[in-house]
């Protein structure tokens, strides 16, 4: 709201400088943006908050000035003389949509002489940035900026039927506004029409066809009230914002409507001549009576922390236009002014008193009682994670939570559910709430590559958004990494993070079956192997839950038969799936049991919980890494212990295609002897992945679930006495088949060397077909042994080592290499 200093002076004496005025207004709630000189006048630009539409006119500002400087406020009475015919004989107003237009008033002036405005009017409008058009239009603009009530003057002679109909716009109705642009309307909009067509867009803009021109002789002056929501929607839909719509959106003074109409007429008679018809057409509801509000004076110190004398509070409220009904030493009851719709409660009056009295009177040295606060566990875990990662040379990145579709589809290890989407993109085309941070980090990596930054080691800690069907989606805090190092470098960093949280933490690594498709194709060249679709996948997920529950119950066999007979496609699918998935991962003995069960040997049933555990352990069931059987029809039921087909397909193949087929793994942590949690994923980005993200250098990525990290964190470690007896180290060099994983061998070694195994350190792997034989490798490691009870002798250590070698031989066919 731009205020003219010269104009303001009309209502209140200004004996301060513009700077002093602006400062005082700012401290009372009207933020000062700037002041600049226009001719002999000052234009003071004030920011008006949305709750104070009364300050969208000079009078409203003048009232604040009068209250703040304790000056008198002088307002025009606006009592134009009327003569001649009654207005009702000259025109007629019908309102068809009182919801959108609760009140419409019209006055008529005949015999006006449209001409340029006088100098003073042109100047005042120029100060506030409005160009002059003619005296009538300038006056409606002037009164709008005087009191905040928008007005419109129609050329009465150009209104078909010389009448006004306020109605909803018709679907597709077109309207030519005074800005000479044409708009297509819909029924959510309110138009001012004559007997034939829309001549104004109610509360937003007048029409070109009825605008006041130099030929105009008769005027219909509109002063009305429109529904704020309706105006806002109309203005936005049409991208047509005006001084009028701005004010109607915020609500005008219902009691000021008629004053504004009279004031406009008064000025027109004065500057453009003519005769005002007697009376007013006033259609719709009259201003509602305001409810009284009581301010208890003891609420002032209770809220503000300072004592304010009741008499001072009463004086402030009255000066602001509140009408005092009754008062005593304890409280005052007032009717708030019609232009202050924001005042309806006691707390509103407390704020009024406070802002006029001055917030500067509130002390800033109150003694606030002390209170304990604690650092949340999440924060403590995050602190340790950040410390470990920065120590490992990783910089923390922050990226947008919402990504574009290709990134969203590039990697989604935690869920196969479709991502949530925002209805409008957050930035450019980004409208998918991300299911992984990895693509965003690869994007940041690309940025850094393009800047030729040599070392790019980034991590981010943020939420991923996993749809949950109903309720709010799951927001999981994850830690993601992108590194220029290889798989093992990043694995080492992750191990370091775990150790920072809990020195005893154990990282379990399971290869992702990314190459499963390939393996299966090779093993079963005749089977049809294909990737599973999202739809099939979610059906499966639901199915396996039902199926497992049912099979685990005592009715398992009956239920199975019932599904089969009912022929319910999905349920039958469940059964088939369980067969296949179950069979393919079972031991021969288990298969035998299951066959027995399904063959009717009810006592010899299979413990399906055991199957479930296996499925989970193999990454099949709970974690959505389902294996899908493609065998169909009766064939699938003709399973025997030995011929279970395996034309199954890993969904992981598709979900992890960002990662290299070989160098990728799932990471798990052990939280109890028999309980493991999925920690996350680690892998080198595949060549395709690098190409998608336009990366030149290779990168290894990882994403870890914070709740799993929190589950293993030992935030208050307990002291353990360091061992008192010396340790003995032995290097062992075992030759095994290529298929034997280090973790498997290490597990056997630890078990065999218990309880003396203190640490087991991998040293090297050696391959040489000539010396070791084909498909063989030699694993070199150091086993450190220590006894809590005494110094181990060389013989004891040798004994342990030989039992280790024997155990490794038994379990993995390992041979000690001389």
């Amino acid at each position: 709201m731009i205020v003219s200093w010269d104009w303001l002076k009309q209502y209140v004496a200004l004996d301060m400088t513009p700077a002093e005025l602006a400062e005082r207004l700012m401290m009372a709630g009207l933020n000062h943006e700037d002041t600049h000189q226009v001719g002999d006048d000052w234009a003071i630009n004030l920011e008006v908050t949305s709750n104070r539409p009364d300050c969208l006119g000079h009078i409203g500002i003048a009232r604040e000035v009068a209250v703040l400087f304790e000056r008198e406020l002088k307002l025009p009475a606006a009592l134009p003389a009327s003569s001649g015919e009654r207005v009702t004989e000259l025109t007629d107003v019908t309102v068809e949509n009182p919801k959108q237009c609760p009140r419409y008033t019209a006055r008529v002036i005949r015999g006006v002489k449209v001409a340029p405005s006088p100098r003073w009017l042109v100047n005042r409008l120029a100060t506030v940035g409005i160009g002059a058009i003619n005296n009538v239009v300038d006056i409606t603009n002037y009164v709008l900026l005087e009191c905040g009530q928008p007005l419109h003057a129609f050329d009465l002679a150009r209104l078909a039927g010389r009448r006004i109909i306020v109605r909803q716009a018709r679907e597709g109705e077109t309207f030519l506004a005074i800005n000479h642009k044409s708009y297509v309307l819909d029924p959510s909009m309110c138009v001012i029409a004559d007997a034939q067509r829309a001549v104004g867009l109610g509360g937003v803009m007048g029409g070109a066809e009825s605008e006041v021109s130099p030929q105009t002789k008769e005027l219909l002056i509109e002063a009305a009230e429109f529904d704020p929501m309706s105006i806002r929607n109309t203005a936005r839909k049409l991208s047509l914002h005006s001084d009028s719509s701005y004010r109607f959106e915020r609500g005008v003074d219902p009691s000021g409507v008629d004053w504004a109409s009279r004031r406009t007429c008064e000025l027109i008679l004065e500057l453009a001549g003519g005769e005002l018809a007697a009376g007013v057409i006033d259609v719709g509801q009259q201003p509602a009576e305001r409810q009284p509000i009581t301010l208890r004076f003891d609420q002032l110190p209770r809220i503000l922390g300072i004592e304010i004398d009741g008499r001072v509070a009463r004086r402030i409220l009255s000066a602001l236009g509140n009408q005092e009904l009754r008062a005593d030493a304890r409280q005052v009851e007032v009717i708030p002014p019609s232009w202050r719709r924001d005042l309806s409660r006691e707390i509103d009056l407390v704020e009024e008193v406070a802002r006029i009295y001055g917030y500067d009177k509130i002390p800033e040295d109150a003694s606030v009682p002390m209170a304990p606060s604690h650092r949340t566990e999440t924060d403590r875990v995050l602190g340790k994670v950040r410390q470990a990662l920065t120590a490992a040379g990783f910089d923390e990145a922050m990226t947008l939570s919402v990504v574009e579709e290709p990134w969203s589809e590039a990697f989604s290890p935690w869920t196969t559910a479709a991502p949530l989407r925002s209805s409008t993109p957050v930035l450019r085309r980004a409208d998918r709430l991300r299911r992984s941070l990895v693509p965003s980090l690869l994007g940041a990596r690309q940025t850094n590559e393009s800047l030729a930054n040599p070392v790019i080691e980034l991590f981010e800690i943020a939420n991923v958004y996993l749809p949950r069907g109903s309720q709010l989606p799951e927001e999981e805090l994850v830690v993601s990494l992108t590194s220029g190092g290889d798989y093992f470098a990043v694995k080492g960093v992750i191990e370091g993070v775990l150790v920072a949280l809990n020195p005893a933490a154990e990282l379990l690594v399971r290869p992702i079956w990314n190459d499963l498709l390939e393996k299966e194709r090779k093993a079963h060249p005749d089977s049809q192997v294909r990737a599973i679709s999202d739809h099939e996948f979610s059906a499966l997920r639901r199915a396996i839950e039902i199926g497992i529950a049912a099979l685990a119950s005592h009715e398992r066999h009956d239920l199975f038969e019932r599904w089969r007979r009912a022929g319910d496609a999905e349920d039958l699918f469940v059964a088939e799936f369980l067969f296949q998935a179950g069979f393919s991962v079972l031991t021969a003995q288990d298969r035998q049991s299951l066959s027995l069960m399904l063959g009717g040997a009810k006592d010899n049933y299979l413990d399906f919980e055991a199957i479930r555990v296996r499925l989970v352990a193999l990454g099949l069931a709970d974690r959505r890494e389902l294996l899908m059987p493609l065998a169909t029809g009766e064939e699938s039921f003709a399973l025997t212990a030995e011929n279970s087909p395996s034309p199954y397909v890993a969904t992981s193949a598709r979900r992890h295609q960002l990662l290299d087929a070989q160098q990728a793994a799932e990471l798990w942590v052990r939280v109890a002897d028999d309980d493991e949690l999925l920690l996350g994923y680690l892998g080198q980005v595949s060549a395709d992945g690098l190409q998608q993200f336009e990366l030149r250098g290779g990168t290894t990525v990882a994403e870890l679930n914070l709740s799993a990290l929190a589950a293993i964190a030992n935030l208050i470690p307990q002291y353990v006495q360091p061992p008192v007896f010396p340790s003995v180290a032995r290097d062992l060099n075992l030759v095994v088949d290529e298929g034997v994983l280090w973790a498997e061998l290490a597990g056997t070694v630890r078990l065999a060397a218990a309880p003396f195994a203190e640490s087991l350190t991998f040293q090297d792997v050696y391959r040489n077909p000539e010396r070791l034989g084909p498909d063989k490798k030699s694993l070199l490691f150091t086993l450190t042994l220590r006894s809590p009870d005494g110094t181990l002798t060389g013989e004891q250590a040798d004994l342990v080592c030989s039992s280790v070698v024997n155990a490794c031989h038994a379990a993995h066919g390992a041979q000690l290499r001389a």
């Binding site: 401290m27 009372a28 709630g29 933020n31 949305s50 104070r52 936005r236 110190p301 809220i303 503000l304 922390g305 300072i306 409660r345 407390v350 704020e351 406070a354 802002r355 917030y359 509130i362 800033e364 040295d365 109150a366 606030v368 002390m370 606060s373 604690h374 650092r375 999440t378 950040r386 920065t390 990783f394 910089d395 923390e396 990145a397 922050m398 990226t399 947008l400 939570s401 919402v402 949530l420 989407r421 925002s422 209805s423 409008t424 957050v426 930035l427 709430l433 940025t447 930054n453 070392v455 080691e457 980034l458 943020a462 939420n463 069907g469 109903s470 709010l472 010396p726 110094t791 060389g794």
Partner: protein
């Protein structure tokens, strides 16, 4: 002598020998160590060897084997020590020591400047007794608007002023949106906790601003909330002064300007005095954030009695604070993740 005793002695002797030999700083120290442990006449190894004879017959071979191992190990350690001394002697003679050569510097990662600012703000508020609370970024209308006294007619609820989620993704059909302020967390805490409440909520918030030097459609907010009996605006001003003084150091003053937020009444903009070092130490007021007394409607919406308790809330944008603190002129830099940028903090 028992075998175990013998082995233990041998073990400690070996350890002591390795240590002495490794610690020898010059040739004479090394020679002294050699004589001590490997001396042909009265070296300590010799005296242990003599005890071999006292080991019972059956244990003798084991003891002897171990003795030989220890002897070999100590001799190897001696050789290593000799080589070490020779090496340093030749180096010292060949080239003068240049203490100004760089050491191998470990590459340390840097925390994001926003994290650093957030941690500092959390830290300060923690000392003032405020505990961190977090909540979901995807919210329903009740928590993002209704409980915050933002009725359906309020302009802030305009779909264009918010990031609503597509209906397709929301099974219940209830409109969900990316939260536009962290006050949602305050509502969630108050709904589940009886007063007193003393928390700071913080996290990512989302508003449809076009990205430019001072706007980004996602930013971080930090908001404080204190609800108790007899909490006043004087408490608010005092807490904010402690907060600002802790953050900026020195004697900072707080100024309130009336403002309007749906969830507080009275509502104020908060300024703090700032000694502008660029302007010769002149004091000027800079905007800090918004604040106010929690609106009675909000207290009622979470089941509190506004006649019983009062409270204050304040909030500030982390990006703005951080950008000003570090002289970052374009907040988009925070989300570009240029390593050269990150490494400055």
């Amino acid at each position: 002598m028992a075998l175990a005793e013998f082995l233990a002695e041998l073990e400690s002797l070996e350890a002591a020998a390795r240590q002495s030999l490794a610690a020898a700083a010059d040739a004479s120290a090394l020679e002294a160590a050699r004589v001590e442990f490997l001396g042909a006449k009265s070296g300590r190894l010799k005296s242990v060897q003599k005890q071999l004879g006292t080991i019972p017959g059956p244990d003798k071979p084991a003891a002897g084997k171990r003795f030989n191992e220890a002897k070999l190990a100590i001799e190897a350690a001696l050789t290593m020590a000799q080589e070490r001394l020779e090496r340093s002697a030749t180096q010292a003679a060949a080239a003068p020591f240049d203490p100004t050569l760089p050491g191998p510097r470990p590459r340390l990662g840097h925390l994001h400047p926003l994290t650093q600012t957030i941690e500092e703000l959390k830290d300060i508020m923690g000392r003032l007794g405020f505990t961190v609370a977090t909540g979901p970024e995807i919210e329903d209308e009740r928590h993002n608007f209704e409980a915050l006294n933002i009725p359906a007619s309020h302009p802030a609820r305009d779909p264009l002023e918010n990031f609503y989620l597509s209906v397709a993704g929301v099974a219940t059909g209830e409109p969900l949106l990316l939260r536009s302020q962290t006050s949602t967390v305050q509502i969630r805490v108050m709904e589940s906790t009886p007063p007193p409440v003393r928390i700071i909520s913080l996290g990512r918030v989302y508003r449809p601003d076009t990205a430019d030097a001072t706007h980004y459609p996602m930013f971080h907010q930090i908001e404080g909330l204190l609800i108790d009996r007899k909490v006043t605006m004087a408490d608010l001003k005092s807490v904010l002064r402690l907060f600002a003084s802790s953050f900026l150091g020195g004697d900072v003053h707080i100024r309130f300007r009336p403002s309007f937020f749906p969830f507080t009444e009275p509502s104020v903009e908060v300024d703090m005095s700032w000694h502008d070092t660029h302007a010769g130490g002149a004091i000027r007021w800079i905007e800090m954030g918004g604040a106010g007394m929690v609106d009675p409607h909000v207290l009622r919406a979470v089941g509190y009695d506004p006649e019983e308790v009062t409270g204050f809330a304040f909030g500030l944008g982390v990006e703005r604070v951080c950008a000003r603190r570090h002289g970052v002129s374009d907040i988009r830099e925070f989300y570009r993740n240029d390593v050269r940028f990150l490494h400055q903090f």
